[in-house]
């Protein structure tokens, strides 16, 4: 069976290549969710780029409004009408039904003349203007869908739903080939986020779950839910022994790690605010540069300028490394970034250029977007680390962990599984001085305690030094991670 492009970037990937030609696809959502935008983009894409003329049937929104809205996305629908590649027809459900039943009716005639392949009908909710009797409605819908099938059209139909729950299954969902649902959910306090989910797709595979969706000046775009391509397996000690070591360049730490991090795996650097997590990450990338390995710094916390200043204070000329093309900084403000969009941007960056080391600073900045959906956060982190592993990249992910982590213990042990090495950096008052301390909580997939070390940060870099014996309470705190 032939698949055709929906014209919505990312949505074809969710459908593993596109929707089936000739299918009827129902698009559900609350008012303002983006159903009309999706439909118009589908039609525009077909008419403009696929030589598939389109017909839009609208029962409520004025065509003139559609022309206007589409122009805001840069789609000139009226130009396509002049080329006979598109018709936007405003009508009533009753007229539409009567005309469609007649093979010589206006709609079929138009469709034949223009060789229409794509139809967008907005919306089936208005069929209730013909009858509210459920049996009649179902018959009406069935006969309408049959006509479309016979005509070989690929059809998008919208349906309005009152609220976000998906408990109720409408009969329309049964009679169509595929159902797409758009959700608008609150994230953070005043922020709303759109998701799209395929609820069913007869005769084809699709990626399940909610996928982030955005509407901007270019129209609609879907970011398929990042997924690890295979189940993550933490490296076993046996595998790790023969694996290549990637030195961090941090004095003392590489010795503790028997040479460095394990190539292709990821380390979590967790700790208090101000405990030098970013400096650890910078030092790791800079060491790569001295070994001829390009590094990518994904900066969600600090601007490139601030990073360069931080680097200078530990004796690293980050600016030079960036200018020489040895380090690339990908910066986004955490308030604006959508984690799924970020994932696909990283994926694209790794496709285009080769990197051996990557830093994500920090995971903490992405977490609010997950809105306490712990499973989704975990899947996301797995997918991201898996992406690095596929490219044989050694990575460091930083995460802020306060003292009050007990209530999140479960999450963290869950998340921790994906990291091969876990370092905790803590600020501690020791003999009336605030000291920076480091504990290796996990190395090479096994829990591990090397004791607490002090470390110093100076303009010569980071140096992990003497071991000291902590109190048992202090150790317990560290191990909550």
């Amino acid at each position: 069976m032939t698949k055709i492009s929906t014209g919505i970037p990312g949505l074809d990937d969710v459908f593993m290549g596109g929707i089936l030609k000739g299918d009827a696809v129902l698009v559900q959502g609350t008012p303002g969710a983006g159903k009309t935008t999706l439909g118009l983009q589908f039609i525009y894409h077909g008419a403009k780029f696929c030589n598939e003329p389109g017909m839009v049937i609208t029962f409520e929104e004025f065509p003139q409004q559609m022309y206007r809205d589409a122009l805001n996305f840069g789609w000139d629908l009226q130009a396509l009408e002049r080329e006979n590649k598109l018709r936007i027809i405003s009508t009533s459900p009753g007229v539409f039904q009567r005309q469609v039943q007649d093979a010589q009716g206006i709609f079929q005639q138009q469709a034949r003349e223009m060789k229409v392949q794509r139809i967008f009908l907005d919306s089936v909710s208005h069929f209730q203007r013909i009858t509210t009797d459920p049996v009649q409605l179902r018959e009406l819908m069935n006969s309408f869908l049959n006509t479309l099938k016979q005509g070989g059209f690929t059809t998008l139909l919208t349906q309005e739903v009152a609220h976000e729950e998906r408990g109720v299954v409408s009969f329309e969902q049964y009679v169509v080939d595929a159902v797409i649902r758009i959700f608008v959910l609150e994230v953070r306090d005043f922020d709303r986020k759109r998701f799209i989910e395929v609820l069913k797709a007869r005769g084809q595979n699709f990626i399940s779950g909610k996928h982030a969706m955005q509407i901007n000046e270019q129209g609609m775009r879907v970011y398929p839910r990042p997924m690890a391509r295979r189940l993550y397996r933490a490296s076993s000690a046996a595998v790790a022994d023969s694996a290549r070591r990637v030195p961090t360049g941090i004095g003392g730490l590489d010795r503790m790690l028997e040479g460095g991090l394990i190539e292709g795996f990821s380390a979590l650097v967790a700790g208090d605010p101000g405990s030098s997590k970013t400096n650890f990450a910078l030092q790791f990338l800079a060491e790569g540069v001295t070994q001829g390995e390009r590094g990518l710094f994904i900066a969600l916390r600090e601007s490139p300028q601030k990073l360069m200043n931080s680097a200078r204070s530990i004796g690293l000329n980050l600016e030079q490394m960036v200018n020489d093309g040895n380090i690339h900084i990908l910066h986004h403000s955490p308030i604006q970034i959508d984690p799924d969009a970020l994932y696909w941007e990283i994926e694209e960056t790794l496709q285009k250029q080769t990197f051996k080391r990557v830093v994500l600073d920090s995971l903490t900045d992405l977490e609010p977007s997950f809105h306490d959906d712990i499973k989704r956060l975990r899947d996301y982190v797995y997918a991201l680390i898996d992406l690095f592993t596929q490219h044989n990249i050694t990575s460091i992910v930083t995460r802020q962990v306060g003292e009050e982590t007990a209530d999140k213990e479960v999450v963290e042990s869950d998340l921790a599984m994906v990291f091969d090495t876990i370092l905790a950096l803590r600020l501690r008052r020791i003999q009336d001085h605030i000291r920076k301390t480091l504990v290796l909580l996990k190395v090479r997939g096994s829990n591990h305690d090397s004791g607490v070390r002090l470390f110093k940060v100076s303009n010569e870099g980071i140096l992990v030094e003497t071991k000291f014996e902590p109190t048992s309470r202090f150790l317990r705190q560290l191990q909550r991670l």
Binding site: F62, P63, Q64, E81, R87, I88, I89, S90, T91, S92, G94, V95, R98, Q99, I106, F107
Partner: protein
């Protein structure tokens, strides 16, 4: 017979409902609807819209398909008629419509596009 002058069209358009209806068809060229549907799009009284649609079809500006209350109307696509309609709308209706648009944009706090 229709000509490209506006005179005959202005004579036909002797009620606000006809002007509204014609403007609606001009801006939404591929409308296919019955009188009830048109009255809904326009938010105008069914009776007034029925009469207006009937008379515009008698003047060959709209094309009427079918009879009775199920009759549907479309815009006549004859070139000369299209031209006359376009002239009329651009001269008499759109300037007003644009003013409405600017006003509604202002009220909704949108910025006004500058040419």
């Amino acid at each position: 017979m229709p000509t490209s002058h506006n005179g005959w069209l202005r004579a036909v358009l002797d009620s606000p409902a006809k002007v509204e209806l014609l403007a609606f068809f001009y801006l939404n060229q591929y409308t296919v609807d019955d009188a009830a549907g048109l009255s809904r799009w326009l938010g105008l009284d069914l009776e007034k819209v029925s009469i207006a649609a009937e008379e515009l079809s008698q003047a060959h500006i709209l094309t009427k398909i079918g009879e009775g209350k199920d009759a549907v109307f479309t815009l006549n696509r004859d070139e000369k008629i299209q031209e006359a309609v376009e002239n009329f709308i651009k001269t008499y209706y759109l300037p007003l419509d644009q003013r409405h648009q600017i006003l509604s944009d202002l009220l909704q706090g949108r910025t006004i596009p500058r040419d």
